[in-house]
């Protein structure tokens, strides 16, 4: 046992000595540069801005004057290996409007200001379709979301304002462009569904239009910091 160990040590010393000898012959080739292995798990952060539209389009258009609006957010993303990712994101949509009366499918403003905010907390997982030396990386994913909805109005008492959180799910897809080793920019589209979110309000625009889903489509640009 001790003699086998002694031979190995001896061989290593020989190899090391050879490696340290000065190069004297021009015909010799340069040894390949070794890249450091990529870590198995990488943590990245991102900020995002974009637009979202609501599945309850008539309701939001009636009250906010538009079925869409801008959102801002941010989050963190974990890449596991080369392809798998898990992201945690929070975004916020907020817009002012006016309360309405809905009659025969038409909305009539009633002169009372209102503000609606929606803050989804999304947990998604997906697959990045990466290849060596690829600078644009498409990805697909899906996950769960917790959507915090808040609706406040002029003159309202606390029990008349609305605040709730509903669970939904989302599917997403996009492509990330690696601008540098530590910076990426991604364009992403997501579709969310939050069913039965408005089912409790008998006298509401959502009820009047028969819409109960708080989900919708999101189009956003992410700036990703991290490898």
């Amino acid at each position: 046992m001790s003699s086998r160990l002694g031979r190995s040590v001896h061989a290593a010393v020989v190899c090391g000595t050879l490696a340290l000898l000065p190069v004297t012959a021009g015909a010799q080739t340069r040894p390949p540069v070794r890249r450091a292995p990529e870590p198995t798990v990488r943590l990245r952060g991102f900020g995002e801005a974009g637009a979202r539209t609501f599945t309850a389009s008539q309701s939001f258009e009636a009250v906010l004057g538009s079925r869409s609006g801008v959102l801002f957010g941010g989050g963190a993303e974990v890449l596991v290996g080369r392809n798998l990712f898990v992201s945690f994101g929070v975004s916020r949509f907020q817009k002012d409007g006016e309360r309405v009366v809905v009659a025969n499918g038409q909305a009539f403003p009633i002169g009372i200001d209102t503000t609606i905010s929606v803050m989804p907390i999304e947990v998604s997982a997906g697959w990045r379709f990466t290849k060596p030396r690829q600078t644009v990386i498409p990805y697909l994913g899906g996950g769960l979301g917790w959507h915090r909805y808040k609706e406040t109005s002029e003159f309202a008492t606390s029990d008349e304002n609305v605040q709730f959180t509903k669970t939904g799910f989302q599917l997403l897809g996009g492509a990330e462009w690696r601008a540098s080793r530590w910076l990426g920019v991604a364009g992403e589209a997501a579709w969310m569904s939050v069913p039965n979110a408005f089912e409790g309000g008998a006298s509401s625009a959502a009820a009047a239009f028969g819409e109960d889903d708080l989900g919708g489509a999101v189009f956003r640009v992410k700036v990703v910091i991290g490898r």
Binding site: R99, V100, V101, E151, V162, A197, S204
Partner: protein, 518 residues
Amino acid sequence: MRLFARLSGPVAPAVLVVAAVAGWLATTTAQQPERSRGFKQLLSEINAPGIDRGLRDADPPRPAPTSARWKTGASGSAYLRDSLIVRFRPGTLPAAQRALLAQVDATPGPTLTYADFDIVALAGGADPENVAERLSAQPDVEYAQPRYRARPMFVPNDPLYSRQWNFPQIDMERAWDINRGGSTSVTVAIVDTGVAYRSATLRYTGIAWRRDDGVSFPALGPVDIPFAAAPDLGADRFVSPRDFIWDDTLPFDLAGHGTHVAGTIAQLSNNGVGVAGMAFNVKLMPVKVIDTDWDFIFNSPFIGTDDTVARGVRYAVDNGAKVINMSLGRTGAPAPVVRSAIEYAVSHGAFVAAAGGNEALEGNQPEIYGEFATQIDGMVAVAATGPDRRRAVYSTSGSYIELAAPGGDFSRGPATAGILQQTLDLDFVETFAGPVSRYTAPRFDVFAYFYFEGSSMATAHVSGLAALLVSQGLTDPAAIEAILKQSATDLGTPGRDNDYGYGLINARAALRGMGVAR
């Protein structure tokens, strides 16, 4: 004596001057062939302020006014016996109209203002219901109907002490947090018995007459009658007054019904006087289409028939009313002339609230005007609730009832279970209710706070709320109807039912409108 005492005061010289200048008013438009024409003479536009006699909570019960002037036909409705209403189809030549009328022994009457129909006189004792049926079958006739009697919906009772429980019942206090009394740019028409809206002294001539119980009353002859604006209504908020019973612009209330209704809609509030109204900033348009006992005794030239009501509705909308309160109606045969007028009003942007009727204990016959509500977007028929939020025992139930509102219900509680408002002091109005020895000329310048009950009172709540909605910019009649229904508190059987319709109106919920989620 009281009149003279007032005239001998400091205002007397002014009164006499104005009286001399004013002369007497007598218009010469269309008449009813069956009645000799009485007239009223404006003696003075100045009078002392109304006298407020406060809460009248211990008066003895007063019988509901009735009249024997009307005959009841096969339909169960009272109507005039020698004339009817006809609307010919557009393009029918006058000669063809006369020929058609000749077939039923009828002759055309004079042209009416605010009417797209004609009144024709019948000869030979033909029954108007039969004649109307025959005429309606003619291709050139759009509709024909008797001149059915319309009447107010209130059921006066003896008042006792109370408070205005009706407003908390519909969450009115919190509604005022959103909209404190509406806008002065909104006009509500009180299509009713008139309103105590201004001061004046008028000269009438009282005829001899006989009460329903057979008691005869002597002719009063020329009498000078004092009028005053109801102190708690204010005097500077009335626009385009019109009287279709006397065919002039002095729609004085000779019974107290219209004034009471106007009070619920728009009584001055937060002024430290009397009681509150809902939309206390809006303008009021008194439109008199209902004649009452004193109109009869003074021999008014017109009567409150379907055609009179129809003209009043058309007048109201043509003169800018955005809400029309119809605390009146009748049972029996259809009234296409009124329906047409209401459709005209709604199509021109006026919301219409109509009484659902007080017939539950008397066969529960549907209210004819109210029945249009289910077919006209922008009009609602209103049932009455008592203080316990249950349907008032008298309130008619039916498929046409769309909303409920406080109307009072004396049967389920004390006399304070009625709707309290300021109106004419009935002690000075109903001098004919007692023995002949106490029969005197009335006064319409003395006021008190009375409890009334009826779907009339309920209807006024809906009109008041509608006026607030219009003040918030909601001008589409159909949208007003929609939010009133959607925001109503469901009572009775879940969902719409015949007692409460879509439920008890909720003023705050209606004024809040809708968000996305609530």
